[in-house]
Amino acid sequence: MSFRRIRAVFRKEFLHIVRDPRSLGMALLIPILMLGLFGYALSLDVNHLPAIIYDQDNSPASRDLIQAFQGSTYFDVRSVSGDYPSIEKGINSNKIVFGLVIPPDFTRLLEGGNVQVLLDGSDSNTASIAMAYVTTVVNLYALERTAQRLDQRTGMHVKPLTEAQVRVWYNNDLKSRNFIVPGLIPVILMIIAALLTSLCIAPEWENGTMEQLLSTPIRPTELLLGKLSAFFVLGAADTVMSLLAAVFLFNVPLKGSLAFLGLSSFIFLFGALSWGIFISAATKSQLIAYQVGLLSSFLPAFLLSGFIYAVDNMPTVIRFITNFIPAKYYVTIMKGIFLKGVGMKVMWLELLWLTVYAVIIFTLAVSKMKPKIA
């Protein structure tokens, strides 16, 4: 292994990058685009659920219940004087998520009376969250009324027997941005790595320079390390850029160790770049390398890493597959460092897997570079 040869390749490759505005532009624009898109536009927080209430009772009791809905930021009560047609119309035209129907005999039936909730199930995720919210509000209301009734009858102050005392640890505002942005960094790096490296081996074959290189004493490992380190500079710049945006633009709390963050990013980036180079070396065509690289890096990193979609909710087979997605470990590490402030002690296994992955992929890439010109 010769450091001199690696450095020669590094400098040459760096000049290619600097002289090609496309790759440089991609490396800068993609993180900005992704951060803007996901950081600002994508929110999984369910607030201000629009609703119409059809109050057929119009009594102090029903108004109390309506008050409970109006007083919460989770709901946005558009009208309290609705009826069935307006609820139906509202749901059909996506103006509201649910309608609440209070029956005319609500006060009279209160000891055993029900209200009706009509819910738009076409967006199942929002619907299930809305259902939980509405149920909670109605249950609380019912509990209060029951307690009042008991008070009146017995003359004693009655309290619920059990109450859940919830305290949220880590991300205590439950802001979805706080977990989206740290998880987004692996996705960005994966895309960047695949895009940049997909165009790094194929041109050498297409232009005949690979044959020239193979006639020199340079070894495949040295060639790859040189190329990789040039792209690494860009990837590291993107990492720093994304981190700065996360902390200063999106105000995501960064609780853990920067050193651990740096180390795991280094290893992840090494693996991601190796994957791109492996594909570029295996396909030997710029176009195919580009497409395969993008698909094989972006999709798994996006869908199977736990970036947005929780791995625990996936079917067993898919969950097994996620074990082979390096981005999953890096997402776990990023979220752990950012939100929980945990480090090596808790996440050494994730770091180990990232390292194993990087070494395997790099070795594969090197084996693809062995001189085999026919």
Partner: protein, 248 residues
């Protein structure tokens, strides 16, 4: 004790499937010689050169370059050769100087010799004035000279040039051959393929290759005398016709 030969090829065979690209070739090239490989396209010249450079493995037979076996010691072979492929293979988006620096780095030219070797290559290729220009924008003949410059940075004892002058105008070809003579005078062995007959005249010895076989090997003068031919072109056509008649 006689000096060992720079290149020794012994019963070399290369097959691609059923196609025999190199068919039982044996020859020796002495140190300091300009050895020409002449033949039509597809005769197996490039394949032979690529085997000698360690880019391809032989199917059978043996070849040594600078005393190293090409099949078992390709790393050592690569240290002692410079190679110029028929396709232009420098980086067009790098400047003349950057290309030289790059190859200087991967050939492992010692630090203290770098500047000296670079100026030598620039002077030799007559590119001192254009050292800052992008290689892709140089005219064809200048590119070829630069490629040669890159291939000799590490002072390899043996140079393999695979059709180094294809697609270059006659004047540029002439000046390229002047360079080859200079290098040969400096003690370097040069193994060159061509399909230009006039270039064959410049070689010390010429092997005619046809359909994977070396059908004749001699000095240009001996060839012409033996066949009473005026030019190598005549020699070449004569030899191929003889070969065709013998196999028909």
């Amino acid at each position: 004790m006689p000096e060992p030969d720079a290149v020794v090829i012994d019963k070399l065979v290369k097959r691609f499937g059923t196609f025999v690209a190199v068919d039982n070739v044996s020859l020796r090239v002495a140190k300091g010689e300009i050895f020409g490989f002449l033949g039509p396209n597809g005769a197996g010249k490039s394949t032979t050169i690529r085997i000698l450079c360690g880019l391809l493995g032989p199917t059978s037979g043996q070849a040594t370059v600078s005393g190293f076996d090409v099949a078992t010691q390709p790393e050592l072979v690569k240290r002692s050769i410079g190679y110029m492929s028929q396709k232009f293979s420098l980086y067009g988006d790098l400047t003349v100087e950057e290309n030289l620096d790059f190859f200087s780095g991967i050939y492992g030219v010692p630090k203290e010799r770098r500047e000296e070797r670079k100026s030598f290559a620039l002077r030799m290729a007559n590119l001192e004035e254009r050292r800052g220009e992008l290689t892709g924008q140089l005219p064809g003949g200048w590119k070829q000279r630069l490629a040669l410059g890159c291939a000799i940075l590490h002072e390899p004892p043996i140079l393999f040039l695979d059709e180094p002058t294809s697609g270059v105008d006659p004047i540029a070809r002439r000046s390229f051959w002047d360079l080859i003579y200079d290098l040969s005078a400096g003690g370097q062995t040069i193994f060159v393929t061509t399909h230009y007959m006039d270039e064959a005249e410049y070689c010390h010895r010429v092997a005619l290759m046809y359909k994977g076989k070396v059908i004749a090997l001699d000095t240009p003068r001996a060839f012409k005398q033996r066949l009473g031919a005026k030019s190598m072109e005549e020699v070449f056509i004569n030899e191929i016709e003889r070969q065709e008649a013998a196999t028909a």
